[in-house]
Amino acid sequence: MNTSPLRPGFLIPAAILLLAVVAPLLSENRYLHHLMIMACVWGIAATALNLVMGYAGQVNLAHGAFFGIGAYTSGLLMLKLGIGFWIALPLACLTAALFGLLIGMPSLRTKGAYFAIGTLCFNVIVTVIIDRWENLTEGQRGLLGIPPPSAIPLPFGLTVRFDNNMVATYYLFLIMLLLTLFVTRRIVVSLMGKDFRAVKGNEELAASIGINPFRTKLIAFVTSTFFAGLAGGLYASYIGFLSPDISDFHVTFEVLIQVMFGGIGTLAGPIIGATILPVISETLHALAAYRMVAYGVMLIVVIIFLPTGIMGGLKIVWTKCITRK
């Protein structure tokens, strides 16, 4: 096996990471910074969905709800209780994971279409509750004025401030994305990750060799909701405003499309999808409906002709190049 540090599996991600680190310093363009920050948020959300869907094979259609639960938890904690960002963010992740546990326990006993539809129904319920529980969530008026991350003190009297500092915000979010990726990678290459694969491949066979399918799926599901909560928490403090739409099942579908487009079941795929698709959608903002039609067509075309997404396409091209040599 090729294990040299120059192999493409190492070189290409390293180059992209370098670009991601240097890029904000090369341009003053705030809009570019905004897109990069959002790419991190969606990158985390898509990586999380990919973990449960791409690796453990469970089509969780409540992802947007967990994103929303994370966002509202951190938003409410900061606004209503005055808790600082650095406490609110982990609490947002834990709350999302707790709901993940509560919902995962009953719903993961169902399979296939039942699970997909059951989770989709849960997503609708969450959005309606956020919308109607006005005493808590302000309903349709939304939560306004969620503060940005509080400053980090550094030695020698220096501080890193995040208010109105998009470059610092970007680096913070990038670190969170890398952390998410790191954990996901660790899991999928581990023996635990093999359990995921086995359960995805054939639950009955997996059980016959001593793997507990329910527990395996639950671990994947709860881990995924934890990171969905992280993405939501970051989103809340960057955008500063939340409305019930942010937990809507359209968010689920949006993230789902990012995962499929980039390449389900690969580490890089969701990041690629989460970077490219929001750019397309922001560019075509004025043409909202046309953009959605294009999304739909793209989703169908990708799923029929390139079910492994961009990453799958790249892999095919790469294998062709190698065999030609």
Binding site: G118, C121, F122, I300
Partner: protein, 286 residues
């Protein structure tokens, strides 16, 4: 008591429409194994087509329903051909996602073509009838009768025609059906056409009572899924019964449990049932 009776009648009316939608969805699931998330979008198209035929085309309402059903049959068949057929042998996830893609396409094409505003049918059969302290419009009675007639026709179609028995055989045993010379690919296509035409009929029937707008299908799709999961996916009697049951539950529950949350009653019900019995109320183990 009057309130209760009124809600029962409303429930039956809504339930008959639910039954039609769920019936279409369940036969599609039974044959193709695809949860067609876009089913509600096709119901929406059915409502728009009949609305346009009646208002812009000046066509008779009943003729408009028939034309909409025919048009949606064709659209359903085209969808089977270009979207679901290439995915027959792919993992299930892929056809889930293709169906979600279809929602985006259909709903937004409707949005572009017809705009976001709510459309209202001209007054049709809005004579009022009073009995036992209950008020009901003629149109509501017509909906229930028409839905029941369509359900009976579907049953006859499946039992009495060659296409129908091919569909039934394929639903029971796809491989066996293929071995005995049934062209299951063609059955897939017919089934999508048939199921979609039922959604169109439902949209066309309820259109004059509700408003017609591009996003009208979303909640209906989900409720139809709730019904067929509760009634057993692929089961025709389950869909019919479940449709009426959900209509009644919503209508009676909505009147008495006057909360903000009655529109999610169905989804709460489903999540609860699945938590207790993961294969649905009448579902088999696998």
């Amino acid at each position: 008591m009057d309130l209760f009776l009124q809600q029962v009648i409303n429930g039956i009316m809504v339930g008959s429409v639910y039954s039609l939608v769920a019936l279409g969805l369940t036969i599609i699931y039974g044959i193709l194994g695809v949860p067609n998330f876009a089913h509600g979008s096709l119901y929406m198209l059915g409502a728009y087509f009949s609305f346009l035929l009646v208002t812009a085309g000046g066509v008779n309402y009943w003729l408009a329903i028939l034309i909409s059903m025919a048009a949606l049959t064709v659209i359903g068949m085209v969808i089977e051909r270009i979207v679901f057929r290439p995915l027959v042998n792919a993992p299930h996830l892929n056809s889930f996602i293709a169906a979600i893609g279809l929602i985006y396409v259909i709903d937004n094409v409707a949005l572009i073509v017809w705009g976001p505003d709510f459309k209202r049918f001209p007054p049709l059969y809005d004579q009022l009838y009073h009995f036992l302290g209950v008020t009901i419009t003629l149109h509501r009675i017509i909906i229930v009768i028409t839905a029941v007639v369509l359900i009976v026709l579907l049953e006859l179609f499946i039992k009495k025609t060659t296409i129908g028995s091919a569909i039934e055989a394929t639903a029971q045993d796809r491989v066996g059906a293929r071995l005995s010379g049934i062209n299951v690919t063609r059955v897939d296509m017919w089934t999508l056409g048939l199921g979609t035409s039922l959604a169109a009929a439902a949209g066309a029937l309820i259109g004059p009572i509700l408003l017609v707008y591009p996003a009208m299908g979303g909640a209906v799709t989900l409720k139809a899924f709730v019904i067929i999961i509760l009634g057993g996916m692929g089961s025709i009697p389950g869909a019919i019964l479940g449709g009426f049951l959900l209509g009644l539950i919503e209508s009676i529950g909505g009147a008495y449990l006057t909360t903000n949350y009655h529109e999610v009653l169905a989804f709460g019900l489903l999540v609860t049932v699945l938590a207790i019995k993961p294969t649905g109320l009448f579902g088999k183990a696998h």
